[in-house]
Symmetry: D2
């Protein structure tokens, strides 16, 4: 770790307009030497090409690009899969899971160059500021945070372009962006534009990773996903590391229009927002996983996992990735899913992913127990006693209410 | 209420083989006068036609058919909708919600004819025995229960046919049924046959209410569902009572292949079972409702409703319909959903139902708050303080761990 | 409601140093006409005497004292009792429950005098700022909030005295206060001084409402508390309104040293704090209530009430009194406790309150069911089936693990 | 493991009347060779002396006494302490925690002698039958269970004495026992007699491990308990293994009348029962632990631990010790309590145990953060933004309700 230098800042840099304008601003307003870091979490081809040059041209003292694709999937996404974490019934947490690992790369680079400051390009209305800053707070509470978009005079895209042009900063896109997007290996999110009114259906131009289900093939495709201890390990029989596995399923799912989500969600900072997401591979993985879990997890554990999933999703969504509670819940889910191993066939057709067949050596399903005829290990006479005692508390309450003159059928 | 008569029994009667054979058996083995009751919860055209004659021909002393379609939907299904109750992530509880109202009709008829006994045709391995008997226990704990399928010597369909033929009981179906089915206005369930192995995909011949998504129209259809206080009240602008509303949406959803579910579920009596369900209208209603709730329910209430839904679904699935806890949770959900009023457009296409536009006077979504520019009511500078205090417990824990020499990035 | 006047502020006023110095400060720094309001929630004899004169002498334009004792107990404390809300296992929420009703009195007075501003004397480190301001936000979101202690240059008691003396403001106490206290009819809280270190035992001089248990009478006293639908209604057979009932039990409990609590608690704003509380009457009421509930509440409802209590306590502690979730949970608890009616004898001795006998017409306890001999309504043979099916999911999981070669006894 | 022998049974044997009469009964009615096993979990001096001879005199083929005191405390009680498991707010689970380890000793002995049967002396109305049998089911699902008290003709103590005398079985106690008791190193439970009516206060003769608080010393005693990672490790500075630590605290607590509990609880088999418990050492350990946790556990983790405690206690109470969910929750609690290390002074006086001072290197309490003055690391101005955003969802809901014409102050 370099000696801490109060004249240096490390900026979470994307190369886009939003973070590019921060470079001169930090120099002009804080007199800092600006070092950039960009984590590659699968933003897509071309996004990170030439980033070092671009940063230099914009006035940065250095720029480091870190390949985080595999650790992003295996260390961040996979724990969420073990928990089957989905936020508010729909959102597969693509952006939420990426921010903490990006914050870590940034803190690591701050330590490397000896910066006393970190900066990000998130606004004051979103969740990402929280996810970045809680990461900083946890990983190095002594770092000072600068969040220009919360405080400066630049309040629109036009202001930013104007600011950049005056300083000769290269701006790729001249056309106004309609949507605000965040893409990584797991998903892409879209906000803004016509999406800002929940009474609008998502326009066709918003989607990027998935074809319109109407344009998907007329023939269904069945993909087989293999799992071990609650996380995916293979596709159609081929073992793959996490990043390649997700990329492959994205491609397959995308061509069938799988994984589109449209949600009005509750942001941590108190307001509701409309978001549209595409997570083709993730949707396939979760569909298979849900089914495999139903076959391999014991009932009470399954029920508790359903409840704790809600908490886990909330923790990840709200940026508490490094907090102790996530670690404790991870311990729970690791133990709870240790038998979730097997293969599931998932059928893809016109926007749907449907698990249709499950194969596992660790099944808790017993044909002998489940079928309605005689069985070796289940004595139907046992049920009489079970039903009577199971209902006893309610029956006693009914007798009490009856004695008190209440109408039981109301 | 008639004087209780220890020589009378009221049987929950369907007219099918399973309950028909119980009539002579109760007479022969218990010496009871058998009165039948059949509740119409929308089993379908023809199912209840001529039931009185059939019962008489089978030896019953009486048979009463009660139309429960509207109360089934409005008094049983609608409270579950207010809770958005779904069991184990998939099952819309169609059979679970019907059993308690059938048990009530049976207890009412037992009181009418003065019977001291009630009987049902459920086996000892399923959930329905529990749902019926907990209803009896609650509504009249003095009634004695007879459950022949748990105890008698008849253990297969062949045994039952043999038993019926020896007594000259009319049996409609000569062909063996492949699947065990339960149908009402809300859904149809299928069990047995090839479904008994989770490694089998559901065969094409199992489905009854929905077309194969591949055969659904190539043009999407948009249906508008109106809601008031958390329950549906209209379809495409036409106000409808519950039973007609569900029937209409079943028809619309069915022709688009909407509402198929395939699940390995945990039965109350301890084993897992594979079930396949069709709930076309219910799936559309829930899709719209989920979206309308996300726009109209306050965040903390929404989050708690997500958690309590799991408990509510469990209570309904396990037959505790009349128990005090369901009533207390209903009080919660009634208050929590009182602003869930508005209209949602749901798009139906090749097996999918997707909410795409929401209109409500009671929205909590504020464009002004959600968009990323300046707003009159949101000061982005507030976020700095929010983030710092929100993360404080984790930051203090990190400082403690750091002081204790732990590796924070692990 | 008067026309809103941007030159007026209503201050939540106590007459103490902390709020007195705010009066001149608001005039000097904001140029506002200061109107005071003080809600009587049972701060104690003398606390509110001469408050109007004091406020006038300090420069206030008006001062209104509102008697809130009965609504405080019956409308704020009683709902919490129905939920048996206790924060972090110990704190009976005395201060938390009072703030919302004080905020409401303040908003009402702001409407009466037409003030556009409200001000309070809470610091930026405590919970009370949240409780006041969430009340304002909810009851009139247009009111502007001024919280001088969060921002001004006065940062110690000495600064405040200095500030007051320079302006000739009358200050009663010349002696430095050791502890920061908040008292109402339900409780008194103590913070600060030697309590700031959790490694210190609470000094003897901190306690005000309760005698040292060592000095309590050597003879125990038994007090009988009557309840109806989950809230207390009588003491030793005498029906009493809420405020008088609590006052009476405070007196009885206090002389036996009952109701002392010492806790390190998690504040909403992120840090831990040490607090010491005295709630003599409340402790007696809860002890009896817990016991009466165990006798009258059905098992599943009791269990859910245990869980939701934690959420309810959190909501009240964090100032979300007027939020929708509290209302929805109140609906739950009102239904869940409707049979919690009866009398409990509570024995007071040397600091302890112990319920020892319960009488109720609505008991769910059945001697016949509970005792180990024969009973008319419980067939012990039922237990065999119950146990077998209850354990079945675990047994199947064990069989699976055994087949997989795991060590079952590990 | 010996070859399984269908002529052998292993009985969980105590030497008391209830299990002694089972020996001849098993021989006479099942023709089995009876092998006894008694686990020493601290039943008390003398209880297990001469047990082998007694069993032989009663007709047993063998009798094995196993010392389980240390594993009982360290492997069963300590995980429950990590979870701070208390059932229905009061019961410290003393009997519940012992049954699974006794079942395991019995299964082990069944394997040793090659028995195909296991038998116990629990009735059909209690929880213990479930706890024993779920242990058997899990540890060896092939063992056949015999539970004579659920089925035989002996239904009272008199019947049993009569049965024993006819067979010349030695019976120590000639006097009728008033209470049904279960004692181990952790606690003693009392049921029956005058306790069967919740309207009776517990009679003075019921208590065995604790003096009447009125007879406790007039001088308080302070005991210091040391903890590491959520479990106790020392008393007054002396490191002790679990069994000796508990024994020591039992002795100390008992002489101060600490640890008496009187509860009407919900049994698993559906009815309520009145129980009286003495857990002097356990009460001291939990009091200190609760306080140490409040100082060392991060807020969100603390809150989740409060909720999951309720589930953990339920699992242990209902005999699901070996089930997968307990293991998963243990993983959670082990991680969640890893910093709960330190020392607490607990003051014992006239029946009360009160933590009064905590010392730990891993404190999360910060005087700088908690006190109301300035601090280096807390900017009070942050609170303004925090409060505004924290309350935002409620404020938006209020604005919506106001627009809809609702009365906000209702």
């Amino acid at each position: 770790m370099a000696e801490k230098n109060n004249g240096k800042v490390v900026l979470a840099y994307s190369g886009g307009l939003d973070t590019s304008v921060i470079i001169p601003w930090l120099k002009e307003n804080h007199g800092l030497e600006v070092h950039c870091v960009a984590g590659d979490v699968g933003q897509g081809e071309g996004e990170l090409v030439g980033l070092e040059e671009k940063a230099a041209a914009t006035g940065a003292a250095s720029c480091k690009v870190v390949d985080l694709r595999r650790p992003f999937i295996e260390d961040c996404v996979f724990p969420c899969l073990r928990a089957m974490a989905v936020y508010e019934g729909r959102y597969l947490l693509g952006t939420s899971m990426a921010r903490p690992i990006l914050a870590k790369a940034q803190v690591d680079y701050a330590h490397e160059v000896g910066a006393a400051y970190v900066a990000h390009g998130c606004t004051g209305k979103g969740n990402d500021q929280v996810r970045f800053e809680l990461g900083y707070q946890y990983l190095d509470p002594d770092l000072q945070v600068i969040a220009p978009w919360r405080t400066w005079e630049i309040t629109s895209r036009e202001d930013a372009i104007d600011y950049a042009e005056k300083r000769g900063i290269p701006i790729a896109a001249t056309k106004a962006k309609i949507y605000s997007r965040d893409r990584n290996l797991w998903h892409i999110s879209h906000e803004g534009g016509a999406l800002e009114w929940p009474s609008n259906a998502p326009p066709a131009d918003v989607w990027m990773l998935t074809v319109d289900p109407a344009d998907a093939p007329d023939e269904a495709e069945v993909v087989t996903v293999g799992y071990r201890a609650g996380v995916p390990v293979s596709v159609n029989g081929e073992a793959l590391p996490g990043d390649l596995l997700v990329a492959k399923l994205n491609e397959i799912g995308g061509r069938h229009g799988v994984g589109r989500v449209d949600i009005t969600e509750n942001r941590l900072v108190g307001m509701k927002s409309r978001g549209v997401y595409e997570t083709p591979g993730g949707t396939i993985i979760l569909e298979g996983l849900r089914t495999l879990r139903s076959v391999t997890m014991e009932r009470d554990t399954f029920r508790m996992a359903e409840k704790l999933m809600l908490d886990y999703a909330d923790i990840v969504y709200t940026g508490r990735w490094y907090h102790p509670l996530r670690r404790s819940l991870d311990a729970f889910f690791t133990e709870a899913t240790k038998h979730v191993t097997g293969e599931v066939d998932v059928r893809l057709f016109k926007g749907s992913a449907t698990a249709q067949a499950t194969r596992t050596e660790l099944s808790l399903y017993s044909e002998d127990l489940a079928t309605f005829g005689k069985s070796a290990t289940f004595d139907q006479a046992d049920s009489k006693g079970f039903v009577r005692l199971y209902g006893l508390p309610g029956a006693v309450a009914a007798a009490r209410s009856k004695a008190a003159g209440e109408d039981l059928s109301a």
